[in-house]
Symmetry: C2
Subunit: 335 residues, 2 copies
């Protein structure tokens, strides 16, 4: 990277890639540019490129990995390809921002994180929540001690997705934990910043053995707890979270994973997420601007990971989701 403009290669021309690129249009001109797009169908890649100002389109991810104009690759394909594409891009010398979950299990995740380290390249799991200004304020608030000792975290993510293909199919690395449940897990990980000493789980599986919903109890060494709820079996619900200390609380209303508002001890804080140049597919996707911005700044500073979602935290979340799946009996072919 020779200029201050981060040149993006985009893997996958689906909904999430659209939202990511549209979110980047809300950032100052000259900071980010989509320079190449790869999709399984060349036509999709071209169409996507036209939309976001990229002149280069590929029908192969490998071709994109060899494009010398690409500084960093955003991986927005289906979950089962995340590890393979991350390894491919890192091996080709590219920085990587990979959609969550960065892999299907800890074994896969380790192989990616090790390669990133070995290649001395930037790698970040796109746990976009962590880069929201309100999440940064939550971290600062906890660090300030104003909550006292944190004793309890609750979070609920429940929306009607159990019948969506990527969720219900074992062959696609399905299940709700890896899609929405992990947002509740990452919040607990951010708050406690350590592994729980005990993980207790129950849930409901579909006929392919993929989890349609579950509840996860995390207990930490100081006695703090997190009680997490996720489900793909309900209609759209109020997905909120709370962080309760001995002295004060933080309440994050719907949508806790991409919040525009939260109540702190000092009062309500708001942060409006902007609209992008092109319509978003998902809620508050404009907030993907924050992870793009974090990635750019980290890379400009020569960092190999993002402080808001470090490799250690990717491993922490994945260790927990591995254990959740183990207790529920959710098994992928690659496990």
């Amino acid at each position: 990277m020779t200029t201050k403009c981060l040149r993006w290669g985009i893997c996958g021309a689906g909904k999430i890639s659209n939202d990511f690129c549209s979110a980047m249009t809300t950032l100052p001109d000259g900071e980010h540019k989509v320079v190449a797009v790869a999709a399984r169908k060349l036509e999709s890649a071209k169409e996507f490129g036209d939309k976001f100002g990229s002149e280069v389109a590929y029908d192969s991810y490998e071709a994109l990995s060899k494009d010398p104009n690409v500084d960093i690759v955003y991986i927005g394909t289906i979950n089962i390809n995340h590890m393979e594409l991350s390894l491919m891009m890192l091996n080709a010398g590219k920085h990587v921002l990979c959609e969550k979950p960065m892999a299907l299990n800890m074994k896969q995740a380790k192989s990616v994180l090790q390669l990133a380290k070995q290649k001395n390249l930037f790698f970040m799991e796109a746990t976009w929540s962590r880069c929201f200004p309100i999440y940064e304020k939550i971290k600062a608030e906890i660090a300030s001690g104003s909550l006292g000792d944190v004793e309890l975290v609750t979070a609920k993510f429940s929306i009607p997705i159990k019948d969506v293909e990527r969720i219900k199919e074992k062959a696609l690395g399905g299940g709700c934990m890896m899609d929405i449940g992990m947002y509740t897990v990452q919040l607990a990980c951010m708050v406690y910043d350590e592994m729980p000493v005990k993980i207790t789980v129950d849930g409901v599986l579909n006929d392919q053995g993929m989890d349609e919903g579950g509840c996860v109890i995390l207990k930490y060494k100081g006695g703090g707890m997190a009680n997490l709820t996720y489900s793909g079996r309900t209609c759209v619900t109020q997905c909120s979270a709370s962080i309760n200390g001995t002295k004060a609380n933080i309440e994050i209303p719907d949508h806790f994973w991409c919040p525009e508002k939260a109540t702190f001890p000092s009062g309500v804080v708001t942060n409006e997420v902007p609209e992008g140049r092109h319509p978003f597919n998902f809620i508050n996707s404009g907030g993907m601007r924050y992870e793009a911005d974090h990635a750019r700044k980290a890379i400009l500073e020569g960092k190999k990971e993002c402080e808001a979602m470090s490799h250690r935290h990717s491993e922490m979340v994945m260790t927990i989701t591995d254990e959740v799946r183990k207790q529920l009996g959710v098994v992928y072919d690659v496990d």
Copy 2:
């Protein structure tokens, strides 16, 4: 009971009895009358009686049980006396409204419920939440099918009570499940109206082995779940609950166990709880009027239990709290 005025004997002159009697002052004249009060100290009983218009005071619960003017006894003593006093009053031919928990375990509860049946007397566990108009509307809403299939219930009750004597002391039947956790359990029981097929628990105990907090996952045969959170280790928090169906939701904001407000599919419903003639010790205690009213109406109709909190539901809640304590390792001397 020969008149339409229910004549109450009050066991215990403490905070909760005060609130119950003050709540009854909000009901129409001539429906309820406190006719006798018993406390360990005669002076306390007299003082309490003066406050609530009772001319008879006893320093013995047994003496109260023999008072021919008493139709029904409200038991507002500490938890460890609930079974013994319920048995005493039933054996003396009195109807009983006993504070929750009605006993320390299922064995104790069964002995009371069996005696009530044998004596053909009214017995009700004072799970006052159930009698709130908003709870009645919740039941009706679920029965109407407007939520679709209920797939998820969440409830949180977390307030700083871990160091209160009745909570921390094993000899007093302590622990937070029996004091506040049971409110989250009774909500799940009301919504699903059946026993869960699996109960999964974790929590934190104090040095006497009493639970300072915990998380309870209930799984029902249709795949519905409840994720319940209770803690005595935090500051005062937003204690809310939600009921999520496949078609619609009900949200009960703080204080879910004695609600003045809830959001139904058709909109927000409010129900203001009145102030009593004397100040209350606890939140929304004016709402104890509803259980007094339910008890009176049931007795006038010749019923032996209250539909809103039936014997079956007392047993259901107690079966779950027994299992929660078993999994946590919370043991009482009477277990």
